[in-house]
Symmetry: D2
Subunit: 367 residues, 4 copies
């Protein structure tokens, strides 16, 4: 199986207006803001203003709203990027001399530009072998044993403190409730906290049709990055703490990282609207459905291979030599992924992906 990397991601400045293609499957973050969320932002712009730094009503009510959503008392801290959410989460559960288990092609390990190391002041991310983009409880246990399970240790070896997994993961597959529960059980038995990178959590919940609680704290997740940006928000993610044993320093750490917004209510309003009336799941449902339609169409084409199960809104496909170029000439965009000799692409559907565009893409690929 090929290993996806960001090696051919677009270079800053490489996109002249002339090159821009009308339909872009490169990522769900090429999208704009869902109308409902845009309205919520406009509403937050009340003439009388509001106290800054989160001392406003919308932010004040956020922990309550999330606690209701997750059916447990949760502490909630809005930030604007997934990198900030992930790195802040890790800083709560790993000391500078600790390690955190993750996946080699996990976002946390490969694509955060050193933010986890920065926010933890030097903790080390240790990759565990993956299967279909997933960490397994068995692989985690093997990794733990390999380092020093049961044996005496010198302080030369950094001690493990945490596990971090992504849901939806970076290969587009979704952990079942049982898979997460098993990972968390191994973690707990070894004294490790578990962090969930939920940049696409909505897509996972929509795919599984389960309760948010089941996929998180009831399964043993201690804290999570709850993403909204990729699924219709402008720039809003929530750090959600489920475990009361986690130290109470997130607000200082967020400030120190420069992530405390003075006009916080504009972040909070996005998050509040996002989880209201099931909007987040409706948006994710469209993304997932479009990915299913797209992969179904591609799977029927000779010489096209779908590389991972399409559990949510991401498709990794191997397409013949010149197809990628041809598709781009027809006005479609997407990321190359993996080995240059064995063409491999990533296609991501979003909350606003249109069925006609999907069909046009399949049509173009078929030719």
């Amino acid at each position: 199986m090929k290993e996806p990397t960001f090696r051919t991601a677009p270079a800053p400045g490489a996109f002249e207006p002339a090159n821009f293609r009308p339909v872009n499957f490169a990522s769900d973050n090429v999208t704009g803001v869902a109308p409902e969320i845009m309205e919520a932002i406009a509403e937050a712009n009340a003439p009388q203003g509001a106290w800054p730094y989160g001392n406003d009503d919308v932010t004040g009510g956020l922990s309550g709203r999330f606690s209701e959503l997750f059916d447990t008392e949760a502490r909630v801290y809005p930030v604007a990027t997934g990198t900030a959410a992930n790195a802040l989460c890790l800083s709560l559960i790993a000391q500078p001399f600790n390690t955190v288990y993750c996946l080699k092609h996990g976002h946390t390990y490969e694509d955060e530009g050193g933010a986890p190391e920065f926010y933890t002041n030097g903790a080390k991310l240790v990759p565990v072998p993956a299967a279909d983009g997933k960490m397994t409880a068995a692989a985690l246990e093997a990794a733990i044993v390999d380092v020093g399970g049961g044996g005496a240790r010198l302080p030369h070896v950094m001690e493990a403190a945490a596990v971090s997994i992504a849901q939806v993961n970076e290969c587009g597959t979704v952990y079942s409730v049982d898979e997460i529960r098993d990972i968390c059980a191994v973690a707990r038995a070894n004294g490790l906290f578990v962090h969930l990178d939920g940049a696409r959590f909505a897509n996972a919940v929509a795919a599984l049709g389960c309760e948010p609680a089941e996929l998180t704290w009831r399964a043993g997740i201690d804290l999570m990055s709850f993403g909204a940006t990729k699924n219709g928000a402008m720039a809003a993610e929530a750090v959600v703490l489920f475990n009361d044993d986690l130290e109470d320093t997130l607000s200082q750490r967020r400030m120190r990282g420069g992530h405390l917004f003075s006009k916080m209510r504009f972040l909070s309003a996005q998050l509040a609207r996002y989880i209201q009336d099931g909007l987040w799941l409706q948006l994710a449902a469209n993304a997932n459905a479009m990915a299913e339609r797209l992969s179904a169409g591609l799977a029927e084409i000779d010489d096209v291979t779908i590389d991972y199960p399409v559990d949510a809104n991401m498709i990794f496909a191997t397409i013949p030599g010149d197809t990628a170029e041809r598709l781009r000439d027809s006005g479609f965009e997407f990321y190359d992924w993996g080995d240059p000799d064995r063409p491999n692409i990533r296609l991501v559907c979003a909350f606003n992906t249109d069925a006609d565009d999907v069909d046009r893409f399949v049509e173009a690929a078929r030719r």
Copy 2:
């Protein structure tokens, strides 16, 4: 002279809806978003999306727009908070074993929650005595001499690398072009870079009526935090690099800090609109005019002292014992500032402050 601190700033959660007062002079960040900027944000929400992480047209054009504004080639990096802008700037000009001269009551020293130390990986901020909230070239020179001017040194003493000043500064006064030029001359003579914290830069330029270039790179400023949030943006600041000698690592540092936005165009659109057609100066002009009106009104009241020259949009005033309480009961908000025994308050006017509200405040204070 009293020393302002944030000691009585509002506690998170302290503001029940019931307590909220319709007119809030606590800070210019209690405001919302100016209509023109809200429109620009809506426009950026084009249906076809855009490449993420700054590879969009609006962001692509930003350096050009700022270069025009400053009449020089400038490198521009949008971020969402002033803390991020300041800390990232300092990380470019101070190694972990360097010191940065600043003011004791400067925002960088006192109110960034450790962000400068975090982003520089441990550099030390060293306060220089202030006069009316300003650093003087003479005080800077004296501080430099005090550490080791001319003498040999062991590596025990951290070496100075930079100076950081705020314009408008934290006492509401504005550095003249000459004052900045003198500070920069001392800095340059001692091999120090100079950073300008321009969270309220618009108010300073509006007050002085000079060209942005005169107040910055022409005077010797190497890099600045160009603020927009306090003056009508939602959450947008620009790191602006004037000096070509500055290392080219801002994009890695921004990513590592979690400050690279995927939907960057929503930040860039705010900044682009903010500096277009002089909007930023119009907004600041209102804030400054209202502060002048407010301070003029207050100055006529017996027992009220205006503590610093009101050069821009901030007023520090000493008012009699029970006046603060009475004003709050009448529906006005502001921050206490300084010594409990000698009542001292801060009032900040904003881009949308209303003359009637100002007059009502003065009226209420007079009673």
Copy 3:
């Protein structure tokens, strides 16, 4: 009162053999190793070797020996430099977003080259005004109140977590048991840990003639840097933890800083011998007696002022314009200290300072 700085400390490489003077009062660290300690090092060099990284008998017995010395259960970690000891201590009691109260001319603040910031990952040292080189309980309390005593706070202001004082302090004066107790009481009442920089702790104990316990944990000290290098060891200091509430991460932090010695027994042997049979106090007693003799002699000379009480082994003196040059020409060395216009020197006596040399110095100064 003049403020001592290291501004005229010797430049690396400035000391050619030709310039070297036989009697050097510059510091107690210009000395070598006391014969008893040299013997202990040689004894530790047993032919059969020993387990590395502190798993040897000498290191194993060290906590017991120190616990006896301090009349309480103490955790002891040998390191080789005072900077390492101080910085590691602070890393246990201050988070990166905390502040530590100290003195402006304290070693921790001014002369550790950024090590405290490094090991705490960015905590901020905040100076408290001093009197005769000492922090007072009242000054500490005033500093605490000034930041935000009793009031609500935004995370903008770093929260205080600790106090660090030196005994003997950097002006050569010694805190009484009561003075330390008072400082610790204020600290405790405000939830702050107290660290003692005991680079010259032996000199303080010898001067006061009290029990080590009285000056430390009984007075409220939580942890200390117990110095031996300046008083006859080759390179050995002990981090001593008195407070059981301190987190148990010193061995990881020491390893991470590169301060875990493989042949640890050579450090431990120095410390074990140092505190055996009262050697440490005998060595310090000579240093103190010589300083008394030296200051008494100097005090009788016209135009010579002794700037601080000579409580232990350090003398700060103001001498007439050309005296320093003349003394150096006669073969004496010492550090200049403070203002060039008002000659001020520091003289330090050591465990092996000779009475004849002291008398010769006084004689030479008198001429």
Copy 4:
């Protein structure tokens, strides 16, 4: 091939005097100090003292001595531990947002307790697959290509800045001059600095019989940790900089790490004597010869496998089930290494290993 780890290294406190065995092959750091070096230390203890912090004659002459040894102008900085030397070296060649290529079972990656991450402020070590404990130029090139060879990149992916290899490496094999030259050529072609962890450099030079220059700067090494502790010193390693392009901040970084010794001459004297009159190579020659004798003896025993080529002074061997226990009962010590199901041990010979002890061990293993 089994992967060595420290998993069964001795626990602190596990070694009661009663258990101590007279012959310890666990590591070369179980040894004491060679007599010649002990003498040099005693000589450095001159009665007149010396200027501290490296301003003494011995330290002053060190760069000259090393420059002669390496036949090039070298900058030399003594420190006391290999961890400090390695971490300081990496801090010169990798920014916090950079990666450093190393081996998974390299000391730098696995056994420094987070020191590299600490001193680089968060750089990431990225393992390259090894062959017989060695990095190959081809494997390095493949790793570089895998990350982003030729392609555009987002700042999400940390940029590579350096390579770090150990000589002797952690499997006891020695890189040839050509192998090092090839690695350095790939590094140079990709803009990477190369660091050599020379904790056992003497053993490598003694084994190859080549000039130190050939194995280092002439082959393309930019800087190295030159070890002495494992080969007869008490605690002394030298950071040696060959490349003039390396920034000149080592003395500040060393101070900040707490590794500037006040009585520096005791470190420098060890290093000076170590490289004088070929002492370092004589000491290493004995260690290598004893390892050859030991491995030759063991290789003749049925059921014993020597796992890696014994190029220098380390032997990795697989021995039958109960042999390890039996050898320990006979008074021999060594580290278990690797998988509990497939007994694997490490034996290290040292500068003072005795041929009789080696023969006794072989005899005991044979029974």
